[in-house]
């Protein structure tokens, strides 16, 4: 397996006027790796992921997906990426099957191949019996699984996913974790932003912690634990130490 990174983010900056949302972020995701992207609310995770997906233009810096530069070769880079946004848009008046077939067409999958692939993805994400139902009748968790089906439909070598576990029941969450593990086992590089530190600890080979637009820690979970002093077994206290305290004292004062 080639070890060329599937996703490369090189000193990327994103400014909104005088406010810098992402400040020189660099990271890479290797084939078969699940890379956790952690950080408090408003740290710059979603902005970074949206730049990787080609939805936002970086102020400076370089992004590559599967070796394709996102500026110079945008179409090839996007064809190599599966993107799962935190607030996905799905055409409410399409059925699950129609949405997936349309999505496949966007990525150049059509003809005989598309129907069998759509069935595979619906089976994988346990949506087969909803294939001919309108998306508007889906629960949040079902919509989330449908978006994931779409993201994996074209067999992307790289995946960027923003908060995948939000709104999923335990069964759905376990399903997603299994899918991510299996995809990574097949060499797919996954960059996953999450607030669920247990998920990061359980799934991720490496993590990057971003705070106020800057990467403040990067490496395996053990590496990051050492950076924070090394005494804590769980990731939560490590995360809180690195990102600026637990706020417990303030809670006591307020209560």
């Amino acid at each position: 397996m080639s070890m060329r990174p599937m996703i490369v983010v090189d000193t990327v900056v994103k400014r909104y006027g005088s406010f810098t949302a992402v400040d020189g972020v660099s990271l890479d995701v290797r084939p078969g790796e699940i890379h956790g992207f952690l950080g408090p609310n408003g740290a710059g995770k979603t902005t970074t992921l949206r730049m990787i997906a080609g939805l936002l233009k970086p102020t400076s810096g370089r992004i590559e997906v599967n070796g394709h530069d996102l500026v110079k070769d945008a179409e090839a880079a996007k064809a190599s990426l599966g993107f799962i946004p935190d607030r996905p848009f799905i055409y409410e008046k399409l059925t699950a099957g129609e949405f997936l077939r349309f999505h496949g067409g966007l990525y150049g999958i059509d003809g005989d191949g598309i129907q069998s692939r759509v069935q595979e993805m619906l089976d994988l994400f346990e949506l087969r019996r909803w294939e001919n139902e309108l998306v508007e009748s889906f629960s949040h968790g079902m919509k989330q699984r449908l978006v994931m089906s779409a993201a994996f439909l074209h067999r992307p070598p790289a995946v960027a996913v923003d908060e995948p576990m939000v709104g999923l029941d335990p069964r759905g969450a376990r399903l997603i974790k299994d899918v991510f593990r299996r995809m990574a086992g097949h060499g797919v590089g996954i960059l996953m932003s999450t607030h669920t530190l247990e998920v990061a600890q359980e799934l991720c080979h490496r993590i990057s912690i971003i705070n106020r637009g800057q990467i403040i820690a990067q490496g395996t979970v053990d590496d990051v634990r050492k950076m924070a002093g090394g005494e804590d077994e769980h990731l939560t206290p490590v995360f809180l130490k690195l990102t600026g305290g637990s706020g417990l004292q303030e809670i006591d004062e307020v209560v």
Binding site: Y16, G17, F19, A21, R50, A53, G54, L55, L56, K57, A74, E75, A76, K78, A79, L81, F83, P85, P88, F89, Y91, E92, K93, L94, T95, E98, F99, F102, H103, G105, L106, Y107, G108, D110, L134
Partner: protein, 561 residues
Amino acid sequence: MTTPFPYLLLPHLWSSRNRAQRRERGDLTRAVVFGAIALGVCGAIFGGSYWLTRELIEYAEFGDYLLRLGLSWLFLSFLAFLAFSSVVTSLSTFFLADDLRVLMAAPVSPRRLFHARFARTMGQASWMVVVFLTPVLIGIGAARCASPLYYVTAVLTLVPFSTIPVAFGTAATLVLVNVLPARRARDIMMLAGLAFAAAIVLVLRFIRPEQLLRVESLPDVTDFFATLQSPVTPLLPSFWAGESLFAGLQGGLDWMHAGALWTTALAATLVVAAASERWHFAGYSRSQEAPKSRFKQFRLLDRLVHLAPMSTVRRQLLLKDLKIFLRDISQILQLLPLLALVLLYLYNFRVLDLDRIPYMTEFVTNVYAFVNLGMAGFVMATVAVRFVFPAVSAEGGAFWLIRTSPISMRDFLWSKFWTGLCPVLLLTEMLTIAANELLGIDPFLKVVTAGAIVFMSFALVGLATGLGARYPRFGADPNQAAGSYGGVAFMILAVLFVIVTIVLIGWPTSIYLVRRFRGQPIRTFDEVRIIVFFGAAMILSVVTWLVSMRSGVRALQKMSD
């Protein structure tokens, strides 16, 4: 990844097909009502166009001249409308539409994306013009017994004629989104809306259409049409379209103007395609940026509402509704076309040349007071369906907050009623008083119509609030809510209410006025009739108001069952 651009339009076609297959409650009623209205309007336009063209045939060459000018003027109006409409539409299709999040993340080439979005903008911006122009052009063709060539020319004229302003509108949006600070996109709509409203009023002011009423001498009419011509006119696509069509009407082909239309349309599309390829992503990226949107705190409003004698719950509900409305520019924007109509309406009263019929002046003036009342009623219904009816639906995903709070549904709905009543009453009352002043109507009628507006406002705002609570569309935008089953039902009931009210007030009043103008004595019976009919109108208003509100409150209470 190389499928042709129409592939990107498929979700909209599939969605429409699915929507048609899975009918919702009231869809059939809505289709029948809107279909009948549309057919009626198209028939009237066709009839008007046919009649006018037949009349012009009587004037031989001068009639031809007037027809050419008329066509040119018609196309000029549509050119302005299309340019405005395409700026607003392209802002949505190219930069703000939700599905762009799917398409922009997919490997879709900028050129393909442009073609798909441009086609969508064309469709959305120009369908109204095409629907309106079709019966006009068929009417002209039928009146002049035109050959099939005329109809072919009409199609070949309309396509490039619609393309040119859409291309310019798209280019203007592209430039504005790239130049103005991020998240100011909606401000552009505001700007465009204001400009459009102002343009309508100014154009009508300058061309003085009331001169047409003075048909005693032909030179006046020619003067009127002459004012429509200017040195710039022949350089506009509207002129080319008019000339091209007129040639088709006479069985010929005007290659020069048709060529000018097509070459301009193609060149404009190519230029805007190239510009879009270069700058669309930068503009789209900017339109996604929302670090801090500008908004007003409305501290004065806070203070004023706190001075009002009302419960804390009602005060907070009122404040929330007002602030949300005032901070949403798109809501305010929708008032602009209405404002333009109101200004035109008042302007028409000002220039009404009633001295032409001196022996009837006084009577006609007073009849106009009722026309005025009817107009105010329809303005009231339009404002209510757009702003009051969606008030409950507008709570959307946040309605849980109301339902889980210690607020009775009665308090909640009555708060919505009072919030809606004040602006509607103020607007229509001002409109009626101003129009009646301009007309100089009888003081008795001034009082009657001003009083009627108060009762009608209570009834129509109550009806809109109540039906809005009975048929809420949580999550839908206000436009969708207004066009829903409940919205259509409201409009039908509101129109019926206005008609019945005007009959109840107008009939006894007109008998009273005729007697007075003729110098006949006013009998006790006439006075009793006025009192009875006015009383009936008042009771109708109060019953409509209270029954609607009660029904709305019950519907909200049933939601929890």
